[in-house]
C-alpha cells in the first residue's frame, strides 16, 4: 500500500467579491481605510508596475485581484526592512492595476545560477478556479534575461516575451507596463511551481 499523505484542500475561485476579505476598503467597507497594499515601501529604486488582465475575447478583467512577491534590492526575501509583498485591485471601470515598489535584485536559482530581476504575480478573479502564477521581468536586463533559468524552461522561445514588461514614458519614477493575456493570441506564460 502506498504511503498516505494528506490531500491538499482544493482551490475555488476567489469570486467577484474577493476584495471584501483581502482589500476591504476597495470593496466599500468602512474598515482598514488607511491600507495601501499596492505600495511596498523599502530602500531601493522606486518603480511603478501597471497593466491589465485581458480575457480570451480581449475584454479587461475588472474584478481581478493581483498579489506580488519579490526580493529586495539585494536579492533577499523576508529582509527586515522590506516585506516584498503587495496586493492590487483591478479598476472596476478599466481593469487597470498598479503596484508601487522597488526594483528587485538578483536571486540565485536552485543551482546557484542568477535569475534576472523579476517579481512574481498571482491572479485571482471570478472564473479562475485556481490562482494563476506568472512573472514580470524588466526589459533592460537583456543578457540576464537570455540566461535566466526560468525563462529558459519555456520551450517555445517566442512565448518568453510575454513575461517581459515594457518601459513606458512619463511618470515620476520608471514605469513598466505588463499586460496579462489569459487566453488567445499572446497568451501569457503561467507557471506550476
Amino acid at each position: 500500500m502506498p504511503i498516505e499523505y494528506l490531500k491538499e484542500t482544493p482551490s475555488q475561485t476567489g469570486g467577484p467579491y474577493v476584495h471584501i476579505g483581502t482589500m476591504p476598503a476597495f470593496a466599500g467597507l468602512e474598515i482598514r481605510q488607511e491600507e495601501q497594499q499596492h505600495v511596498i515601501p523599502g530602500p531601493g529604486e522606486r518603480v511603478r508596475l501597471v497593466g491589465v488582465v485581458w480575457d480570451g475575447s480581449g475584454h479587461p478583467l475588472r474584478d481581478a485581484m493581483l498579489e506580488l512577491w519579490q526580493a529586495d534590492s539585494a536579492g533577499r526575501h523576508n529582509a527586515p526592512d522590506f516585506s516584498g509583498w503587495g496586493r492590487a485591485a483591478a479598476s472596476s471601470e478599466t481593469g487597470e492595476w498598479e503596484f508601487d515598489t522597488i526594483r528587485p535584485g538578483v536571486v540565485p536559482w536552485r543551482d546557484g545560477t542568477p535569475q534576472a530581476p523579476h517579481v512574481s504575480l498571482l491572479i485571482f478573479a471570478r472564473g479562475i478556479n485556481i490562482h494563476l502564477h506568472t512573472r514580470l521581468y524588466f526589459p533592460e536586463d537583456e543578457a540576464a534575461l537570455a540566461a535566466d533559468p526560468v525563462l529558459r524552461a519555456v520551450e517555445q522561445t517566442g512565448r518568453r516575451a510575454t513575461l517581459v514588461a515594457r518601459r513606458v514614458e512619463g511618470g515620476d519614477v520608471p514605469t513598466y507596463r505588463f499586460d496579462i493575456r489569459l487566453q488567445g493570441e499572446g497568451e501569457t506564460v503561467f507557471f506550476d511551481m
Binding site: Y5, Q12, G14
Partner: protein
Amino acid sequence: MSHTTLPAGGGSNFGPGAAGNVIKRDRALHAPAFTPGYKTSVLRSPRFALVSLEPGPGENAGPRFDGKILAPLENDLIRNYAKTGEAVGERIIVFGRVLDETGRPVRNTLIEVWQANAGGRYRHKNDAYLAALDPNFGGAGRCMTDDDGNYFFRTIRPGPYPWRNHGSDWRPAHIHFSLFGDAFAQRLVSQLYFEGDPLVPLCPILGTLPDQDARDRLVAKLDMKMSVPFDSLAYRFDIVLRGRRQTFFENKPEGH
C-alpha cells in the same frame, strides 16, 4: 552582476526554517482551468499547459504576517462591524486545524475570510442583489493559527444567493477563505460549505472539482460537542496546504 549564493533548494535568507522544497502541487486534486459548467471560466482559462518547475528560493519563501496587525475583534464577524447591535443570523463558530500534506501543523499563518450576510447579500460596491444589507455586518474577518495550527472565528451562517450562470443558479451557503502558509508556493484561496445544505450538490462552482472526494473536503461538519450552549453552533473545517520535503531528500548542488 554580483549575486549572493544561496544553497540549492534553500528558503529565505532571513526568518525561520532551513526547510526543504515545497512538494509539487497535485493538480488532479483541483479543478482544471476550463470548466464550461462555470461559464465565466471559458474566457478566463489559459489554453497552453502551465510551465512546470520545481519551486526555487523565491517560491519556497513567502510573505510573513504578524498577528499584531489584527484588531481584537477581527475574528468575530458578529461584532466586528457592529454599529447599532450584533449581526443578524444563525450564530456559528467555524474552527479547525491547518496542516500541511505531511501532517505538520502550519503555525502562526494568516487566514482571511469573507462572506455574504444572512440574506445572501455581500457588502461590496458591485453586489446589487435585492436582499437587504445588514448595517451591523461587514463580512470580513481575519485570524492567525496558533502553535498547533488551530484557528477559529465566529460569524453568522451566510445565506444562499442567485447568480447568473445557467439562468439563475444558486450558490450554497459558503465562506471564502485565504491562506498563505510559510511559502509563496503554498498560497491557497477557496470556499467552505456546510454539511447538509441541499444546494451543495447543485453548485456549478463546486461542480468544477474533479470528484466527490474533493467536494467533500470543502464541506464543514456540524460539531455539537464544540457548540456553545444557548449561543452558537460549531462547524469543524480542517485545511491542508502543500507540504515540504525534508532537506536530506534534496539534490546536492553538484548533483544531477
